[in-house]
């Protein structure tokens, strides 16, 4: 893992000292809220519905056990004993008081963490494939790239007052687990025809009010050109971006308004100007960073304990079937820890649970943990022989839910239970859907199905790319939930299509049940996943199930 240099540590310490003084000046009245707000946002501090919220960056979703333990300590010492892992691989604390935040930031700095650029119109925390460095299908580990981008973008003087926020995601695998096509810039690590490493650069993706799938602006960018090229993209948008209209300010609108060819030409022109300024220091740095992400020494051991447990323990088998993924090293697995126990808040973990996960990472997982954008925790490197012990410990901590990728593994934003921007709640809807399908014992029968819920049009819950997306709105003073179907968050990214009129909070779970029933009766075999059935049969049977035959005909007439 990357370790802070003296420069990094001094930078974070200085920022924390500045923020401590800013908080004091706000409290003693020398700063107004208008003056203070941009300062607190630069340090990840929001004011939400019921309290302040501190969003802490988890760079590319990677945590050590010491960092996870410190998050547990912060949750207990200054919050209400839990934290919320987000769809951008970060963690949010929902209940800090203003006076405590400087101490929380100092506690984070002790484990080389901070909250800088987790808010505001800056380049935000860079996200990456949560299986980075472990996945069997990986070409290269995306985290050194993400770390390089983080160092370049942190406090970048040209990019502190962008037209709007800017999000970058990196994947090193052809199977995109980082939703790169729904980011301002998505980077796919590829090799050219002679085998040299580089990137496919995707620009102008995004969800929110105007969902857009990103477009390829450069199909092969040599590795050494990365930073000047990114700088060119961001600076072109920095000038063109619509500062006059918040809803049109993201780069997706700029790309849409100007067209990808025009943007490409401008970027290339700017790139030609910037490229000579990058003399290779960035590449030396990149080489150093890469050495920080050397793969651990994977042991060659007998997997008999795994095979035995798998054969004899049905609970373990069910967990192994859903929560494990293929690792690149023989005898190893990637284990996902579901933060989606049926009826629980998606993405939440208590301090005790965080400590259990930290212990397991330390004992069995080469001291590494990941936060996935699907709001689960990953132990990326576990030897199969250790999995029965890992599973037993998870079971004791209420963390052994076997539902990764299943209908109850729901992404949900905090919604109106916490968020000041939300137009409806999302957490209770997720809780009810998960509880209902658990009661029906249908999860395994239904198989791979991603439900994603957002409590407002800003789409933090990624609803547009959910196989089933749910968007909570305020319709004439009542919570109302619109459904989209057929969204795809992978390398074949697609925006879901709206089914029709929305449903009330009481009607939404039965509506989801009707959709699932329709899928079960329409699929050609148990092997055909929901998304494939939808692609084959289209919207019609689902619309009929939701709204009835007559209404559909009326609407068509």
């Amino acid at each position: 893992m990357y370790r802070y240099t003296d420069f990094d540590a001094a930078f974070v310490a200085e920022r924390n000292a500045q923020f401590r003084a800013q908080v004091e000046r706000r409290i003693d009245g020398s700063l107004t809220e208008d003056e203070f707000k941009p300062l607190r946002l630069m340090n990840g501090l929001y004011l939400q519905l019921h309290a302040y919220m501190l969003r802490v960056a988890v760079p590319y979703g990677t945590l050590s056990s010491a960092q996870m333990r410190q998050l547990a300590y912060i949750a207990e010492r200054w919050d209400k004993g839990y934290g919320h892992f987000t769809t951008r691989q970060n963690i949010q604390f929902n209940w800090p008081t203003l006076r405590d935040v400087p101490d929380m930031l100092d506690a984070l700095a002790e484990v080389q963490m901070h909250a800088i650029q987790t808010s505001g119109n800056t380049i935000r925390n860079v996200t990456a494939d949560h299986f980075a460095g472990a996945a069997a299908d990986e070409i290269a580990d995306p985290r050194p790239v993400a770390e390089l981008i983080r160092q370049w973008s942190t406090d970048h003087p040209e990019f502190q007052f962008l037209p709007r926020k800017f999000k970058i995601a990196v994947t090193g695998s052809p199977n995109d687990r980082a939703v790169t096509k729904a980011h301002d810039i998505g980077l796919r690590m590829v090799r050219n025809e002679v085998g040299e490493p580089g990137f496919e650069v995707i620009v102008g993706g995004g969800l929110g009010r105007t969902p857009m799938i990103g477009k390829v602006v450069r199909d092969f960018l040599p590795e050494a050109d990365l930073l000047p090229y990114l700088e060119a993209v961001v600076s072109v948008w920095n000038l063109l971006g619509r500062r006059d209209n918040k809803y049109k300010s993201r780069i997706k609108i700029t790309v849409h308004e100007h067209g990808i060819d025009d943007i490409r030409a401008r970027v290339e022109e700017r790139f030609a100007l910037l490229r000579p300024a990058f003399t290779g220091v960035d590449q030396q740095l990149y080489a150093q960073i890469k050495s920080d992400f050397e793969a651990p020494a994977f042991a060659d051991r007998d997997t008999a304990p795994f095979d035995q447990a798998y054969a004899n323990d049905p609970v373990f088998r069910s967990w192994a079937d859903t929560n494990l993924s293929a690792h690149r090293a023989p005898g190893h697995a990637i284990a996902q820890i579901s933060l989606k126990a049926h009826g629980a808040t998606p993405g939440d973990a208590t301090a005790d649970q965080m400590r259990v996960m930290a212990d397991l990472a330390e004992w069995f997982g080469h001291d590494e943990l990941r936060v996935s954008h699907e709001q689960n925790i990953v132990l990326p490197h576990v030897h199969k022989a250790d999995l029965p012990a890992v599973h037993a410990a998870l079971k004791d901590a209420g963390l052994a839910t076997a539902n990764i990728g299943r209908i109850s593994d729901i992404i949900a934003c905090p919604g109106m239970d916490y968020c000041a921007l939300a137009t409806a709640r999302s957490i209770p809807i997720a809780q009810e859907i998960a509880t209902r399908f658990d009661q029906l014992k249908l999860e395994n029968e239904v198989g791979d199905l991603k439900i994603k819920i957002s409590g407002c049009i800003n789409a933090c819950g990624h609803h547009h790319v959910g196989h089933i997306g749910i968007l909570g709105l305020d319709r004439a003073g009542v919570e109302n939930y619109q459904i989209t179907l057929g969204g795809d968050h992978t390398e074949t990214a697609a925006i879901g299509q709206r089914t029709g009129p929305g449903f009330s909070a009481d009607e939404i779970v039965p509506a989801i049940e009707r959709i699932v029933d329709t899928y079960l009766s329409e699929r050609d075999s148990a092997d055909e996943a929901f998304i494939d059935t939808f692609a084959r049969v289209g919207m019609t049977p689902f619309k009929t199930a939701l709204y009835g035959e007559s209404e559909r005909k009326q609407k068509a007439a």
């Binding site: 706000r26 409290i27 009245g29 107004t32 809220e33 004011l47 939400q48 519905l49 019921h50 309290a51 302040y52 209400k80 929902n94 209940w95 008081t97 203003l98 006076r99 808040t345 109106m416 239970d417 916490y418 709640r425 957490i427 209770p428 809780q431 305020d474 003073g477 009542v478 919570e479």
Partner: protein, 100 residues
């Protein structure tokens, strides 16, 4: 004919804790909606809002929220205000825990 004015309360978040607060007739900030001053006249409401907004050392984000007057005090007119009044629905971590 002018539109009928929906009764309002002045509400905000406390500067230090972030808690939802309401302005009372006595010019104090209460954590309880029932104790809020109900404003039934638009001109009054605007003046109370302007005065409250200047109390930047105590509160953040002052605005007028619609309420429905009731014999037990004002009730939130919109579900957002109902959640602000009671706290989140997934844990008893907000105001609902203080009421216990």
């Amino acid at each position: 004919m002018p539109a009928i004015f929906t009764p309002k309360v002045v509400t905000a978040n406390a500067l230090l804790e972030g808690d939802v607060v309401y302005l009372t007739e006595a010019d104090t900030w209460s954590r309880t909606l029932q104790e809020a001053e109900v404003l039934t006249d638009e001109a009054d409401a605007q003046i109370r809002l302007i005065d409250a907004s200047s109390r930047t050392g105590e509160v953040v984000g002052v605005y007028l929220a619609d309420v429905t007057p009731d014999q037990n005090g004002p009730k939130p007119a919109h579900f957002r205000e109902a959640f602000r009044m009671s706290g989140p629905s997934n844990y008893p971590h907000g105001k609902q825990s203080e009421a216990l």
